[in-house]
Amino acid sequence: MSTMPTGRTVQASRERDRPAPSDQAPALPRRRRVGGGGAAPYLFVLPFVVLFVVFMVAPIVIAIVNSTFSSQSSGLGFGGASTVFVGVQNYLRAFGDRDFLASFGRVLLYGVVQVPLMMVIAATLALLFDSALVRAKRAFQFAVFLPYAVPGVIAALLWGFFYQPSVSPLVQGLQSLGIDADLLAPGTILWSVANVGIWSYAGINMIILFSALQAVPSEVFEAARLDGAGDLRIALSIKLPMIAPAVLLTTLSTVIGTLQLFNEPQVLQSITPNISSDWTPNMAVYAASTLGRDAHLGSAMAVILGVVTLAVSLLLVRATNVREGGNGR
């Protein structure tokens, strides 16, 4: 569900203000708290538990187990391949693969530029929509949000047309101005892919930040306004800090999405030789599993990517916790 990077965390915020379920219980007959409904609750959660075990737990176990095996063809290649335990050999191969390591560097560079840029765009638009400066907000918000309704893959196809000199109105327009732009060159392709990401997801992030801004009580900055603070000052030093949790959370999910980058470069790959089949870590997993016909190596790469993603998420969560703690909460 990488196309909804941030919605999930903010929706969950309702949880915050509601009393824990056990707090509600005193109003109820005591016996209902323990096991009311007999077997019903177990029956009710069964479908999810089964799905969860089969499609989340099992794949993780499979990936880990698979990554420690390797198929070795027997001599002439006729007798079929046999699978043998190889321990950490696949991991050593993955770490020894320069292209695989380079793909991590690439998404890191991509993330360092794309994530802050998109957050600035989303936050600026959210603040503008929250201010009294802009009229016809609904229409403009519609325009900004529309790309979210475009599937990520189709967005990549669409921008692909904007990047190909033969059809691109963008390249042609720049040419008529005397600028010779190659948006698919080795040096620019990373930013062309980043642009697709910004285009697709800035809208939903804007909506989330805007929702958070709408919840800031007006008394908070009416006082500042009476003290003579301008709109810009209020936006930057009052509104923005107050929605910091929402900003951090949208950032977190965007970072996770960046590490998983797959759809956009995979699609753009067909129009440029400058995107290799292992351009991002996730593409390397895919390439090893399909093109390389080595699912075992692919599994090892998937495990590495999963661990890195988890580590980065936890680090970010930790970092934001520390920072908020420092604010004397």
Binding site: A25, F55, M56, L158, A212, V216, V285, Y286, A302
Partner: protein, 306 residues
């Protein structure tokens, strides 16, 4: 579990009533700021709209005029011919893909919503053994990167003999922990335990209480889950790409990107990819924008609660 706190923190920064922004402080606003802000928003809107506008215009051109006429200028009206060619190509495979996308999205999102609804309802209404573990697992699993699961899921599906089938694409999408979390929150809000108790005293069974009372009370929240699940399935790409080899089973995303790739050697496919992309956007845009009120209220609800 610090993640939980983060999740709880999300958008409601403080308590207080919801604020109306329209018109507040208009008098203090200088004309210069208004012009600058409006200009910024207009530029942003052009950026976000331009590709979609281009797509709509390009869809009306012939395959050759796509390359010879300026991108944002209309040329000869060729939309109907394009649609005919699109429908005729490869025995109408495009509509097969469209139907597959609809099947994956409609069936997938309805089943996902039901699974989430019944689980969230159980978490909110009953106190049972393992409940806390289940909640912890749901929250923790939101940190598991889903696309990383694609490859091992593919291996699993091959072992189950489900690769290259409808179920192979459908079943993994039904596992949606965030949906469970949402349903749990919605159920806590919407289903009063007194009402459940009253229904019990009337002799209704637990399943019937859920089906007649629970689902109805949770319905507005469930629309949000339905929409996100629908969008997730409609956008699904990596898993079907891995799982499906049979073109007859592919969704639009996989089919259209395949055409885009093939258009290097078969140029006539380029305009068909353009028209096909436009057609693939239209339904989801309509669904999402007309139901805006529902999912937006879901997003804002965190703030509204105050």
């Amino acid at each position: 579990m610090s993640v939980v706190d983060q999740v709880r923190e999300a958008s409601a920064p403080s308590s207080g009533t919801r604020r109306r922004t329209v018109g507040s402080g208009v008098d203090q606003v200088s004309l210069g700021w208004t012009i600058a802000a409006t200009a910024g928003v207009v530029v942003a809107s052009i950026y976000f709209l331009a590709p979609v506008v281009w797509l709509a215009i390009a869809s009306t051109k012939s395959g050759s005029q796509l390359f010879t006429t300026p991108g944002f200028a209309l040329a000869d009206w060729n939309l109907w011919t394009n649609l005919e060619n699109l429908s005729a190509y490869d025995g109408g495979i495009f509509w097969r893909w469209a139907m597959n996308s609809v099947i994956y999205s409609v069936v997938g999102s309805i089943l996902t919503t039901l699974v989430c609804a019944v689980t969230g309802y159980a978490l909110a209404v009953y106190r049972f053994r393992g409940r806390k573990v289940l909640i912890a697992v749901v929250l923790a699993s939101m940190l598991v990167p889903t696309t990383v699961l694609a490859q091992p899921t593919y291996v699993l599906l091959v072992n189950l003999g489900l690769n290259n089938t409808y179920w192979g694409v459908l079943l993994p999408t039904l596992t949606y922990p965030f949906g469970v979390l949402l349903a749990w929150i919605f159920a806590q809000d919407a289903v009063p335990l007194e009402l459940v108790e009253a229904a019990r005293l009337d002799g209704a069974g637990e399943v019937r209480i859920f089906a007649t009372l629970g689902l109805r009370l949770m319905s507005s929240g469930l629309v949000t889950i339905l929409l996100f699940a629908f969008l997730g399935s409609w956008n699904n790409y990596m898993l079907p790409l891995l799982v499906l080899t049979d073109a007859e089973l592919m969704p639009l995303t996989v089919g259209l990107t395949g055409w885009n790739q093939a258009s290097i050697t078969i140029p006539s496919l380029q305009i068909l990819t353009v028209v096909g992309s436009l057609l693939s956007i239209v339904p989801i845009a309509i669904v999402f924008l007309t139901l805006q009120r529902f999912w937006r209220s879901g997003l804002t609800a965190g703030g509204l609660r105050g």
